[in-house]
Symmetry: none
Subunit: 226 residues, 2 copies
Amino acid sequence: MDADADLAAPAKLMGDPARAAMLTALLDGRSLPASDLAAIAGVAAPTASSHLAQLVEGGLVVATRSGRHRYFSLAGAEVARAVEALQAIAPRRPVTSYAGSRAAKRLAEARSCYDHLAGRLALDLADALVGEGSIEPLGIGQPGSLTDRPGPLAMRLGLDRVPPTGKRPAVRGCLDWTERRPHLAGAVGAHMLGVLLADGLLVRDRDDRGLTPTPEGAAWFATFAR
Amino acid sequence: MDADADLAAPAKLMGDPARAAMLTALLDGRSLPASDLAAIAGVAAPTASSHLAQLVEGGLVVATRSGRHRYFSLAGAEVARAVEALQAIAPRRPVTSYAGSRAAKRLAEARSCYDHLAGRLALDLADALVGEGSIEPLGIGQPGSLTDRPGPLAMRLGLDRVPPTGKRPAVRGCLDWTERRPHLAGAVGAHMLGVLLADGLLVRDRDDRGLTPTPEGAAWFATFAR
DNA sequence: GCGACGATTCGACCGGCATCGAAGCGTCCC
DNA sequence: GGGACGCTTCGATGCCGGTCGAATCGTCGC
């Protein structure tokens, strides 16, 4: 029984900025490889490896090997709850500066989430795809599926010709913090972001994972956005 | 927007054994002077003073002066929740001793959780209150509400005359680690614990946040317990 | 099999912080 | 007002651990 469990051990693990960034990135239940987590945390590969070893040792994170990659994810819902409970008492980020709040708004609109699209635009797209019957409604973290009759939007995005990808589910719901609803992830989600970038409807912002519609993109998005 | 609140700051504060011990000691909502907290944490006075200054600076603890003493207490229920969430994922202590397991059983039965009642007794009470239609069923971490027709149990506990309390929700579900179900927290939960103590149905144990029913209390609890 | 790549281990460097003794400040009691 | 007491500040010490370059191991693609 945990009448007086050693509170300090997990707290110490979460107390390092690099590890905290990793845990936050994993909060939606995704599994990410070590290299991605290193980039997210802003540290070199050896440093990230050390941190991840500690997180695994401490039981906050679990690792699964897949070829030459190792995917890390949170060890359970209790860990996610603890992370969120700490976020609840954490001082809010830059909120004070104009730049900060403008950046936040920009990210809420459209950003990349790992390798797929997130933000309000992603939610609109997911809604439209469900609406036209191209995909089943999304569950959070749950694998979903494409239907066998793709609509015009799905055709435009090339979702009917997504290359097959090993074990990764084609469609998956990924929780979006903007509105706490799932957007489209999985192989199809990744493919979709690729098409949007390749066709010049979206461009990546310079310093973060923000995405901005081009003029053509904005016009196109307006045809189905709320 | 807390898209990326600085998780690491409060976690770092909790990550030191001395500070963790202090926070745990304050978990039941008591206010303790610096000297007591120093003793509990097992450090010298200057060290404790330094730790407490950090906890106050970080917003986890608040201090009130009273003569030549300074009393410290947790800054709010959210801090208590974060501490408990971390305890939930902490490695279990060396609980092999008989004393340890007896204490654990005692705490599982009834204890204070910040300012309200937790443990099996709390779950029984919450069930009974829901059963008699005095409160809506509890969601974890979710605000709930009193119904407009309090039953006899609610009347006995004075839940119909809980003083209004600013922003704090009257009723809230708080996850109980005993059975992973929510018990009654919020202003009503705090009031209920106060009544139980004031009416001599429960007494605080000496060294921890355990609570023990008095003979009258035990008899009364038996009337609705499972 | 050979090169590319992801991940880990090793070793060295260095900053940050927990710790406590001594001293200073304010409050209470007599 | 004098002494005791609670708490804090200051300063010095020592250690833990975060960091990254270089090297190693294992896997994938051709």
